[in-house]
C-alpha cells in the first residue's frame, strides 16, 4: 500500500495514524529523498505502508516526483491511497487525475473534511467517487476518523474485489486527437511491455518529459515515436501559443476545476477572518520581522538556559559517578592507556553525544515541530525571501538554516527542501557556518564570560556576516540560474501532540544514528592517539599556524584538534590546558580570536559525515576546506587588527 498526495494535506498524519512507531525512515536508493515505510496489522492482515514523497504533480520536475511515479508504475503497489485535502480540492485533484492516468489502483482519502467544513466547504464524496471512478472515503487523519473505512476499502481494492472503473479523462478535442495518435504509435512501434501505460507515455511525450523521452529512445522503434511526439508537441504549441506542458496542465486543471465545482458547496466565504488578521501581523513589514526576531530570540534563550542547565547536570553526573566507577572497575585489570580509551574516549563520546541531544536538540526540535505544524514556517520563509535572494537562495532555505542553530547535522539533511542541486549545495555550505548550540557554548563560556557579552554578540554578528558573504560568493561562483520561490502558504493549524512527538522522535533518531557512532568512534581514536603520544607533536607542528599567524599560545592547538570531534570539547580542553583559568593562558583579544577560529574552522565530525552523505565526498571535502581556509585567514587578520589596536 502506498500513500500519495500533495504536501500539507495530512499525508504524514495519516501515515503516523496507520503505522504509529512501527516505521522506518531511510533514503531511496541513490537519491536524497526520504523514504518512509511502516507496517500495520489490520484484521489479521499484515500491510506494508509506504509514504511516497509529497508532490503536486508527477512531472519530472523534482526527484520527489520522479521517485513517486517510478514507484507506482514499476513496483506496482497493490493499492495507492491518494490523500486529498478537502479544503483545496481543485489543486489536489490535479495530482489525482495524473494518478488515474498512471492507472494506479486508487482509493481517494478525502482528508481534513472537518477543516473544510469549518471553512464553509461541503463536499459530496459520493458524487466525487462517481466522477473519478474510484472509491472516495472522507477522513480526519489527525483524529483517526474514517481510517477504518479507508482501510476496508483499500483492502478490497488491493484484493481486486472492488474494481475502480477509471475511465481516462478526455482532454479537449485537439489535444485528445494527438494523445490518441501518439498512443497508437507507441503501442504499434514500442509495444506494451513497458511498465507505464501507453496513454500516460503519450501524454508525457507531448509534455516533452525528458525522462520519458529517454525511456522511449532506448527502446526499439523509439526513434520514430519520438519524432512523431516532437512534431505533435510543436503543433500543440503553435496552436495554443504556450509550451506544451502548460497546455496539458491547463487541460488537467480544467477537468479538476469542473469536478471540484460540481461536488462542492460553498456555505460561506472560504477564509476565516482571524487568519487574515494573524497574517496581517505575521507578514507585516515591521511587525512581521519583530515577531520573527522575538520568536527566534525566545526560542534560543529558552534552549540555552534549559540546555546549559541539564547538560551541566548530565556531564557532572557522569564525571562524578560513572567515570570513576568504571575506572575503578577496569583500573586493576587493564593498562592505563586502555582505561583512557574506554573511559575518556568511548564513554566521553557517549556522554558528549547525549549531552548535546537531550538538553539542546530535544527542546529545539520540539519547538521547531510546533512552529512547523502551526504553519508559521512559510510565513518566516516569506519574510526572509528577499535576504536569501542575495545569496542566490530563496525563502525556503531559511528553514534548514534555523535548524542549524541547534545542530548542523539536521540542517544539512534539511537542505533537501531546495529544488536544484546548485541551491542545495549553497544552502549546505551556508548551513555549516550557522553557529550551532555547541559553538554557542564556546562563545558564551569563553568570550561571554571572560571578555563580555557584547564581544560575544559581536562574534555572532561576524559569523552571520561571514555566512552571508559566503552565500553570496557561492552564488557568484556556482554555475546556473537562481530559482525563485514557489511555495504553498498553508492555513494556520493547531499543532497536535502526536505529530510533534513523532516528528521530534524521527529527527532525534536520525541524529543519533548518523552522529553518535561517529562521535564515539572518533573520540576513541583520538584518545588512542593521545595515549600513543602522537597528539602533542602535531600540536607543536601546528605552532607556526597557531602562534605565528593567529598570535595564540601554541597550547591552543590542542583543543582545536579535539574540537573536530565535538565543538564543546574545545572549551573543556582549553580549561584543562590552561589549568582551570583561561585568563592565565590568553588575553581577552586572544580569547576572541580563538573563539572565532573554533567557531568557523571546521564542521565537526558528525556534520562532516552528514555532508558526505548528502553531498558526496568531493563537495564535503571542498566545503570543509573552505571553512578551514576562511577561519584561519580571517582569524589571522582579526588577530593583526586587534594587536594593532593594542587589544591583544
Amino acid at each position: 500500500m502506498a500513500l500519495a498526495g500533495n504536501a500539507n494535506v495530512g499525508k504524514s498524519a495519516l501515515f503516523n495514524q496507520l503505522t504509529g512507531l512501527n516505521q522506518r525512515v531511510g533514503n531511496w536508493p541513490g537519491k536524497t529523498v526520504e523514504k518512509a515505510e511502516g507496517t500495520l496489522y489490520f484484521r489479521g492482515r499484515r500491510i506494508d505502508v509506504l509514504d511516497l514523497p509529497g508532490t503536486y504533480s508527477l512531472s519530472a520536475y523534482s526527484q520527489e516526483e520522479l521517485v513517486a511515479r517510478e514507484y507506482i508504475a514499476v513496483e506496482k503497489p497493490d493499492v495507492v491511497i491518494d490523500v486529498v485535502d478537502a479544503s483545496a480540492l481543485e489543486r489536489n485533484l490535479y495530482l489525482t487525475i495524473q494518478l488515474i492516468e498512471l492507472e494506479a489502483p486508487l482509493v481517494v482519502c478525502l482528508n481534513q473534511v472537518d477543516f473544510a467544513a469549518k471553512r464553509g466547504i461541503r463536499i459530496d464524496h459520493n458524487a466525487l467517487s462517481e466522477l473519478l471512478g474510484v472509491p472516495v472515503v472522507p477522513t480526519v487523519a489527525i483524529s483517526g476518523k474514517g481510517i477504518t473505512e479507508l482501510l476496508e476499502i483499500a483492502i478490497s481494492v488491493a484484493e481486486g474485489k472492488v474494481k475502480p472503473k477509471m475511465a481516462p479523462f478526455r482532454y479537449r478535442e485537439d489535444v485528445e486527437k494527438r494523445i490518441e495518435e501518439l498512443r497508437e504509435a507507441i503501442e504499434a512501434k514500442v509495444g506494451r511491455e513497458l511498465d507505464y501505460p501507453p496513454r500516460w507515455l503519450a501524454i508525457k511525450l507531448l509534455e516533452r518529459d525528458p525522462q520519458v523521452e529517454e525511456l522511449i529512445a532506448s527502446s526499439p522503434g523509439g526513434r520514430e515515436v519520438l519524432e512523431l511526439a516532437k512534431k505533435l508537441a510543436d503543433e500543440l504549441e503553435a496552436l495554443h501559443g504556450a509550451p506544451s506542458p502548460v497546455v496539458i496542465a491547463s487541460e488537467r486543471y480544467a477537468i479538476a476545476s469542473l469536478i471540484a465545482r460540481s461536488v462542492s458547496t460553498f456555505v460561506r466565504r472560504p477564509r476565516l477572518t482571524l487568519e487574515e488578521k494573524l497574517d496581517a501581523v505575521m507578514c507585516h513589514r515591521v511587525l512581521g520581522y519583530l515577531v520573527l526576531g522575538l520568536t527566534a530570540l525566545g526560542m534560543f534563550s529558552l534552549i540555552f538556559v534549559l540546555g546549559g542547565f541539564f547538560s551541566g547536570l548530565l556531564e557532572e553526573a557522569f564525571d562524578i559517578y560513572v567515570v570513576p566507577w568504571l575506572a575503578g572497575l577496569l583500573g586493576p585489570r587493564l593498562p592505563a592507556w586502555a582505561v583512557d580509551i574506554i573511559c575518556d574516549g568511548f564513554l566521553g563520546g557517549i556522554v558528549g553525544g547525549i549531552a548535546i541531544v537531550l538538553p539542546y536538540l530535544l527542546p529545539l526540535y520540539i519547538l521547531i515541530a510546533i512552529l512547523e505544524d502551526s504553519g508559521y514556517m512559510p510565513r518566516a520563509a516569506c519574510l526572509m525571501d528577499p535576504i536569501m535572494h542575495k545569496m542566490g537562495l530563496h525563502g525556503k532555505a531559511f528553514i534548514p538554516l534555523i535548524l542549524g542553530f541547534g545542530c548542523n547535522v539536521p540542517a544539512c539533511v534539511g537542505c533537501r527542501v531546495m529544488e536544484t542541486d546548485r541551491e542545495r549545495t549553497t544552502a549546505g555550505l551556508v548551513s555549516i557556518f550557522v553557529p550551532c548550540s555547541a559553538r554557542t557554548v564556546i562563545i558564551m563560556g569563553l568570550v561571554g564570560r571572560y571578555v563580555g557579552l557584547w564581544a560575544a554578540l559581536s562574534l555572532y554578528m561576524i559569523d552571520l556576516a561571514l555566512l552571508f558573504a559566503i552565500g553570496r560568493g557561492a552564488y557568484r561562483m556556482l554555475p546556473g540560474e537562481a530559482v525563485g520561490l514557489i511555495m504553498e502558504m498553508p492555513p494556520y493549524r493547531r499543532p497536535m501532540l502526536k505529530s510533534i512527538a513523532l516528528k521530534t522522535w524521527a529527527r532525534v533518531r536520525s541524529f543519533a544514528l548518523i552522529a553518535l557512532p561517529i562521535i564515539v568512534v572518533s573520540s576513541m581514536a583520538l584518545q588512542a592517539l593521545d595515549a600513543l603520544g602522537l597528539v602533542w607533536p602535531v600540536v607543536m607542528a601546528m605552532a607556526p599556524l597557531t602562534s605565528g599567524w593567529l598570535l595564540l599560545p601554541p597550547e591552543a592547538g590542542f583543543p582545536l584538534i579535539f574540537g573536530f570531534l565535538r565543538k564543546e570539547l574545545v572549551l573543556t580542553l582549553l580549561l584543562e590546558v590552561a589549568g582551570g583559568d583561561p585568563a592565565e593562558l590568553m588575553s581577552a583579544g586572544q580569547m576572541y580570536v580563538f573563539s572565532f577560529v573554533s567557531m568557523v574552522y571546521i564542521p565537526c565530525v558528525a556534520t562532516a559525515a552528514a555532508l558526505v552523505r548528502e553531498f558526496g565526498w568531493k563537495k564535503a571535502l571542498l566545503m570543509s576546506f573552505v571553512s578551514i581556509a576562511i577561519a584561519f585567514f580571517i582569524g589571522g587578520l582579526l588577530a593583526r587588527l586587534l594587536s594593532s589596536l593594542g587589544l591583544l
Partner: protein, 102 residues
C-alpha cells in the same frame, strides 16, 4: 544576475502588466508566462496557466514574495517569478476598494 532591486516588477518589461504589478486585493487573469520550460511547467503544475483567475493577497516588503490566491489555496511567488507572469487585471466597478477597506 546580481542585485534584484530594479528590473523585475516594473511594468512594461515583459510586454504588459505582470503579477508583480498588481495591487493587493485585485484580481487578475493570467495571460501567459515569460519563462523557459522549467519554470512554465512548475507554475502550471501549481495551477498558474493561461486563463486562471488569481487574486493578489499581499505584496511583501523589500521586493519580497507576492502572495496570491489561486484555485482556493494560497501561493507565495518570489517577486522575480511574479514578474514573469503576464496578467490582465480584472476591473470591477468600485474595485479595488479605497485603502483602509481591505
Amino acid at each position: 544576475m546580481g542585485w534584484r532591486w530594479r528590473g523585475p516588477g516594473r511594468r512594461g518589461r515583459a510586454g504588459g502588466p505582470t503579477l508583480a504589478d498588481i495591487q493587493p486585493g485585485v484580481e487578475a487573469v493570467v495571460r501567459g508566462v515569460v519563462a523557459g520550460y522549467g519554470l512554465a511547467r512548475r507554475l502550471a503544475d501549481m495551477g498558474i496557466v493561461p486563463g486562471t483567475i488569481v487574486r493578489v493577497v499581499r505584496r511583501n516588503a523589500m521586493m519580497g514574495p507576492v502572495e496570491v490566491e489561486v484555485r482556493g489555496t494560497r501561493l507565495l511567488l518570489g517577486r522575480g517569478i511574479a514578474a514573469k507572469v503576464l496578467v490582465e487585471p480584472i476591473v470591477r466597478p468600485g474595485f479595488p476598494p479605497p485603502p483602509g477597506q481591505i
